[in-house]
Amino acid sequence: MIRVWLIAKTTLLENSRKQVFHVLCLLMVAVIASSSLLSILTEGVKLKILKDLCMTCMMFGGAVLAIALGATGIPNDVESRTVHPVLARPITRVQYVVGKFFGTFITVGIGVGAMALAFGVLIYAYEHSFDTFLLTATGFTLLEVAVVAAVATAISTAASPAITAVVTFLIYIAGTTKIGYLGGMIERSSSGSVGGVYRLIYHVLPNLECFNLKTALVHHDVVPTTYLIQVAVYGAVYTAFVLLAGCACFARREV
């Protein structure tokens, strides 16, 4: 575990110096902070729409950060050959990949945390009280980010940064809309083989919409604890499986 933590720490230090991290975090925090200005421009803008927008910024910003950082970590190390002295140590490829994932996840977590803080301050300014459900919603956003980061890390073990970023982004969009969009396509497909392909894609893609607690936050709905536990288990299991697939891929790769 110490070795995994060392790789994670080095990755965190590296990622926190990247321009894309600073730009995205600042941009999302600025969008969240400036969303309050909408009330000046448009009449009757309610707090609910502000919460919706801020929550979406946080989720999307976190996902984009995870993709940007996860897609470049391992390929950059291999290309710049900084991976050689590390892998020459008694560290397994699994430890290396897991360490890179955790480094990326912690970096994105810091970014999402900054966005959540800006969001919390905005809600406090409007409601003059702190909504504790924001912590739960942020936690599940982090879980979604973990899944996306795991997918990006796994694909990056075999593909270039550009391909990894594009494919992970497509998986993210598809995973966010799969129940409604893909589910509808399966129902409408007449051909058995086409339907079979859609069904396979449907069951392989992550169900990212289940991490979205935006509606509950906006409307102060009660989300059953059993659902939250199931989603947490699902997120952890999917992340672990995707990471292991990436580790298996990297174990065979020549560096």
Partner: protein, 71 residues
């Protein structure tokens, strides 16, 4: 190139965030939806079965190799 890439990512984020911003009525309560819960449970089951199959498979392969090496 780096500036162009950063600008593209920033533009994409600004444009897509509001686009993904649905009204509350559209989404509904997916924690009550059987489709969401069923899909999650199925995926967890498939992942656990695959993992078990891989572990059992690797044990069998290792045992066979050990036996062949012993001969």
């Amino acid at each position: 190139m780096r500036v162009v890439r950063l600008a593209a990512v920033a533009m994409l984020s600004c444009v897509t965030s509001p686009a993904l911003c649905h009204g509350a009525q559209e989404l509904g309560h997916h924690w009550d939806s059987a489709a969401y819960l069923g899909e999650m449970r199925l995926q967890v089951l498939v992942i656990c079965c695959t993992a078990c199959a891989l572990v059992v498979g690797s044990w069998i392969v290792r045992a066979v190799r050990k036996r062949q090496a012993g001969r």
